[in-house]
């Protein structure tokens, strides 16, 4: 019995000695980095932890490794993809998803094949825009060279609805609270939103769209993310005459875009538009850039305004429209 006890004691001691046999040199040279990265095998982890239990210097060394990880992560930032590149990638994916794509390229799909017809020669690095985008670029190039004075009608004739929109923009861009009832004695349309915007944008977007839809208001939000604007929140209110109105705010690039949607079958586009895209017309009114959109179903009017230059608003709306077209494929 004494012999068996002694044998057990020797086995335990031997295991202890083996576990602590790892010296500092071995730990620092072979294990400390992997330990900080969580990359040790179970056996290595047992040995490492056993050693660290008796070695404060190596514990400090491990802490230093972890601090270095934090520093690298803090300073070696992820760089955001430029908006136009993101847009073109989405467009190219959309093209590839089109069944008619298969018939366009006569060469069989090999490991190294790529949709060459989509890409210009590498040497030129010139992107070939579609016809509408080419027209837009031409307009922007011409318009950017102008002095920026507004069109004659917008300059000399007040547009009351634009003035109201400006007042709302100034108020909401300064202090937008998406998660409160309507100004008029409460609203039936409170919905759950994360005021701090910590919720992923996708979730917020769906919540807003659902709330708007349930209120029979337009629910197709702009996606200004490629342009550098994040969805700030949505708000459902009522005008003085009781008509429901939605306010959707986007923030980014040191500025804000406010989209106001309301039903107005009587409203017509003011004179002085300087550009058009489909049902959208663009204006420069006072110091604000406007996009006015009429949608036939339901006779809704969307007023989108910002203090950013009109050329940027035109480009950002065009990009958002292109994304929507791609998503719908």
């Amino acid at each position: 019995m004494a012999g068996r006890f002694l044998a057990q004691w020797v086995r335990r001691k031997r295991y202890f000695l083996l576990a602590t046999a790892m010296d500092c040199r071995e730990y620092v040279d072979k294990l400390v980095s992997a330990h900080a990265d969580g990359a040790l095998t179970p056996r290595e982890r047992r040995l490492a932890e056993s050693h660290l239990g008796t070695c404060p210097a190596c514990r400090t060394r491990l802490a230093e490794e972890r601090s270095l990880k934090v520093l690298v992560r803090q300073h070696a930032n992820i760089v955001k993809v430029p908006a136009e590149v993101r847009l073109r990638i989405r467009a190219a994916i959309g093209e590839m998803a089109d069944p008619s794509f298969i018939g366009r390229n006569s060469t069989p799909h090999t490991q190294d094949s790529s949709p060459r017809f989509l890409w210009p020669a590498r040497q030129t690095r010139v992107w070939a825009p579609i016809a509408a985008a080419a027209a837009l670029l031409l307009f922007l190039a011409v318009y950017s060279g102008r002095s920026g004075t507004p069109g004659p009608a917008a300059q000399f004739h007040p547009v009351p609805v634009f003035d109201l929109a400006i007042a709302k923009y100034d108020s909401l861009a300064r202090d937008f609270v998406p998660n409160v009832p309507s100004d008029r004695n409460g609203s039936d349309f409170a919905w759950v939103m994360d005021r701090e915007g910590a919720r992923p944008d996708a979730g917020m977007r769906e919540d807003i769209e659902r709330s708007y839809s349930e209120a029979n208001m337009p629910d197709d939000l702009f996606n200004f993310e490629p342009a550098g604007y994040r969805l700030g929140g949505g708000r459902l209110d009522h005008l003085a005459d009781g008509r429901p109105v939605t306010y959707t705010l986007y923030r980014g690039r040191g500025d804000a875009i406010l989209d106001i949607d309301l039903k107005d079958p009587q409203m017509s586009a003011p004179m002085g538009a300087v550009y058009w895209i489909g049902m959208r017309s663009f204006y420069q009114y006072k110091d604000y850039s406007f996009c006015l959109t009429f949608s036939q179903p339901g006779h809704f009017v969307s007023i989108t305004l910002t203090r950013a230059p009109l050329t940027e608003l035109i480009r950002d709306v065009a990009m958002a429209d292109a994304l929507t077209t791609g998503d719908e494929r």
């Binding site: 955001k80 990638i89 690095r125």
Partner: protein, 178 residues
């Protein structure tokens, strides 16, 4: 499905492309080629595995295969350090002061970027892949097409080099009082 799974990693892949090419136009080309190739061969990706690692593998393969510049040979510095790994121990490196102080020291971003850039590219790459792109060692081995043991060794050596470089910065700041 591809958009949901792969496109959230666009920024991470672009950052890696920039680090590889050091040129915005080349990085954009490389990114686009990579994403389209990934889209074309998305059926080869196993859902539930690390999509970022898969995309980075394609990126690095693209870069190695299609880079117009002369393919970079392993820099002499990297070879030297790999050889040193056999003989030089890191245990004698001096400590870096209180670890929490490392983060709170407010080393200027520019200084730290300079320290990071001072590493040989192959060492800088593994550090960025593990600490910024958050790949595990096997994924890094697959992306860079190097043995797992080499990844471990380079991560360890890269951090050791960072420590020495930061010590030099700290010493010079101490001397100048800045």
């Amino acid at each position: 499905m591809f958009e949901q799974v792969a496109l959230p990693h666009l920024d991470a892949v672009y950052s890696a492309a920039l680090r590889l090419t050091h040129n915005t136009d080349d990085a954009k080309d490389l990114l686009q080629d990579t994403i389209l190739r990934a889209y074309r061969f998305f059926d080869q990706f196993t859902l539930g595995t690390n999509c970022r690692a898969w995309l980075l593998t394609i990126l690095y393969n693209n870069f190695r295969n299609n880079c117009r510049r002369t393919r970079e040979q392993l820099s002499p510095t990297t070879e030297q350090f790999d050889r040193q790994a056999e003989t030089h121990s890191l245990v004698d490196d001096p400590p870096l002061r209180n670890p929490e102080e490392l983060i709170a020291t407010r080393m200027a971003a520019r200084q730290f970027e300079a320290v990071l850039k001072s590493l040989p590219p192959e060492f800088r790459e593994v550090l960025v892949l593990v600490d910024v792109q958050e790949l595990n060692y096997q994924e890094i081995a697959d992306v860079l097409d190097i043995p797992l043991g080499t990844v471990k060794s380079r991560v360890s050596r890269a951090r050791a080099m960072m420590r020495r470089a930061m010590l030099k910065v700290a010493v010079s700041r101490g001397k100048t009082g800045s």
